[in-house]
């Protein structure tokens, strides 16, 4: 597969021609209206959260690097649906979608982006470092690839304790070349750990398209070398992603066999808010838009399930209100207290530094 062929087979130009609709009907065969509505609602929550983040960034409310998940939402939703309590997601700096999908409070997520005390990690992490252990979000890692051995370590602990949990470890297409990925996967293969490695192949590593980062474009070709099972597909719907990720999770849980899954997807925004994405053509983006899982689901709801426009609009309005409310909360929320910076550095309690040079006055 080359870059130009990467966009999935979609309708040529207009949105709903006969072929597109036939494919849509086939894809949604056997899916209940309720399930499809739920999947749509959950994806839309992520999208509206991300759009609000982009607006807040533009207004100067969010700083640092802000990487949006717009276009990849179906992956987080499907992941949440195949997880059992206690299973873990370990991901990257592009991780708001997982937090929202796993049930983190959008208020806490927005507050984190704003660097507020009520944030998911108290405002110390920002966009790139989301963690919500209680809900199964185990990071939140911003050094590319350095979480892969860590995720393997979580899976090792599951094997060691026999707790029956599965770790799902996500990374970008740009990450697969870096050393720790190879090392973590080698260990997982040798030890037969209950883990699923998922590459979210969104076609770009920052401004670099696949063909300039991957010697062989099929990332799952690597699975054989680690003794993994593998799977590779275009993400066009939640249900298909759920079904196939579910198989991988099952394999990890039941057989202790890791799987390498490559999910072919697309990010519609730049790498981060500071990237104008000049390296790609508008036509390319439009081509992918036809297979945006969110748009396709909306189309299915309208054409197959005949959901009235008013019902969909009402749902959207509710979500927009929820997310706007979250950002309003974040805006009004207090910043961390100055003493917060001494917390959680060391296990023993507040840490004021090991040097008289910078230790605050009055502290031993």
């Amino acid at each position: 597969m080359t870059q130009s062929e990467a966009a999935p087979d979609a309708a040529s130009d207009s949105t709903v021609d006969a072929a597109y609709e036939a494919k849509l009907r086939a894809d949604y065969d056997g899916q209940s209206r309720e399930d499809v509505l739920r999947d749509y609602r959950e994806m839309l929550r992520i999208r509206r959260f991300e759009e609000a983040a982009a607006r807040a960034y533009t207004r100067g409310k969010i700083s640092g690097f802000l990487h949006l998940y717009i276009g990849q939402e179906a992956i987080a939703i499907a992941t949440q649906q195949v997880m059992e309590p206690g299973d873990r997601v370990v991901s990257t700096y592009r991780t708001h979608g997982f937090a929202i999908a796993l049930g983190s409070d959008p208020k806490a997520c927005a507050a984190e982006l704003f660097g507020k005390a009520a944030g998911l990690v108290g405002g110390v992490g920002g966009s790139m470092h989301f963690f919500d252990k209680e809900r199964g979000l185990w990071g939140g890692y911003a050094i590319v690839g350095n979480h892969i051995p860590v995720a393997a370590g979580h899976a090792f602990a599951s094997q060691y304790t026999g707790d029956g949990r599965v770790t799902l470890c996500f990374m970008g297409d740009g990450a697969v070349g870096i050393g720790p990925v190879h090392e973590g996967m080698t260990m997982a293969g040798i030890m037969k750990l209950p883990i699923v490695f998922v590459v979210e192949n969104n076609q770009y590593s920052m401004g670099t398209p696949l063909k300039r980062t991957l010697p062989v474009e099929d990332i799952t070709a690597r699975a054989a070398g680690y003794g993994f099972a593998s799977d590779r597909f275009h993400v066009t719907s939640v249900q298909e992603t759920r079904r196939r990720l579910g198989e991988a999770v099952e394999r990890a849980r039941k057989d202790g066999k890791p799987t390498l899954v490559e999910l072919i997807t697309y990010r519609f925004r730049g790498h981060s808010m500071s990237d104008p994405a000049k390296y790609r053509q508008k036509e390319e983006v439009e081509r992918w838009r036809l297979n945006d899982p969110l748009e396709r689901t909306l189309m299915a709801l309208k054409t197959i399930y005949q959901v009235p426009e008013a019902e969909l609009d009402a749902m959207d309005e509710t979500i927009v209100a929820e997310m706007d409310g979250a950002y309003e909360f974040a805006d009004k929320a207090p910043v961390p207290a100055p003493e917060a910076r001494f917390e959680n550095v060391m296990a023993e309690g507040p840490y004021y530094g090991d040097s008289a040079t910078t230790r605050p006055a009055g502290v031993e």
Partner: protein, 326 residues
Amino acid sequence: MPILQIRQAIRDAMKEEMERDERVFLMGEEVGYYNGAYKCSEGLLDHFGAKRVIDTPITETGFAGIGIGAAMCGLRPIVEFMTFNFSAVAFDQILNNAAKLRHMTHGQFGVPMVFRGPNAAAHMLGSTHSQAFEHFYAHIPGLKVVAVATPYDAKGLLKTAIRDENPVLFLESELMYSVKGEVPEEEYLIPFGQADIKRPGDHVTVITWGQGVPVALKAAELAAAEDVSCEVIDLRSLRPMDEAAIIASVKKTNRAVIVYHGWPNGGVGGDIIARIQELAFDDLDAPVLRVCYEDLPMPYAENLENLILPSPERALAAIRRVTYKR
């Protein structure tokens, strides 16, 4: 004289050296088609082509090592780290190969190359993306370490780094790439190991480098309003270090404050203090103080980050202390 930004001075230095010497090439993430994450290599791919301006995948160990291996064969690599935080991934290559190979091979090989990129905290990037690496690299014999704060210094020192026969760590600053200054049109080189007095003064020696320079200069301005005259010394090169310049100034002022990015423990700041007390003990009228990061990981939240970073206000407080003007 033309006025350039630091990023343009860096680009010009690379361009001129690549034109002068075919063995020089640039390698790193997004250096080519993207023109550099911070636009330090703008136009270089167009000018030199993909053979000499090489986009890499995210493989810091890989491209640092390729640079080292190529340098051993006589090429002159410039390896860009998107930020020095990611050089941690390649630390083994720098520590155990770049710094050691000349010695380990009894001089059969050298590693003439440059590792460059932005260093230290920028703004609200969180703990993994806000670290100052000169303190790690200046510890290592076999390396040279340079940090720049003006376009003039950036160009002159980068050209020297590219021509040097040793591995050079060349530290820039994301926050300072747009800083403007005069850069002569004619060729010039700045030798390593020569500090630059960025502001002359008599009462307190303020030693700094890299991102510390604007903080120190601002503090000197604040101190001047209190009739304290500070001599701001920009070390520019940390290994080798211009001991003579530090000592000459301390002998004059009898007081020193060191302003820098990085933690207090085990870093370049402590090393400077050791040299001062060793070489100018009898000239000191006050303890030598450091103004640096608090000994804490960097949080994202702006208010917390500001408390941890060295500020002109904190530097002024240190200046007052060493002049016994609380």
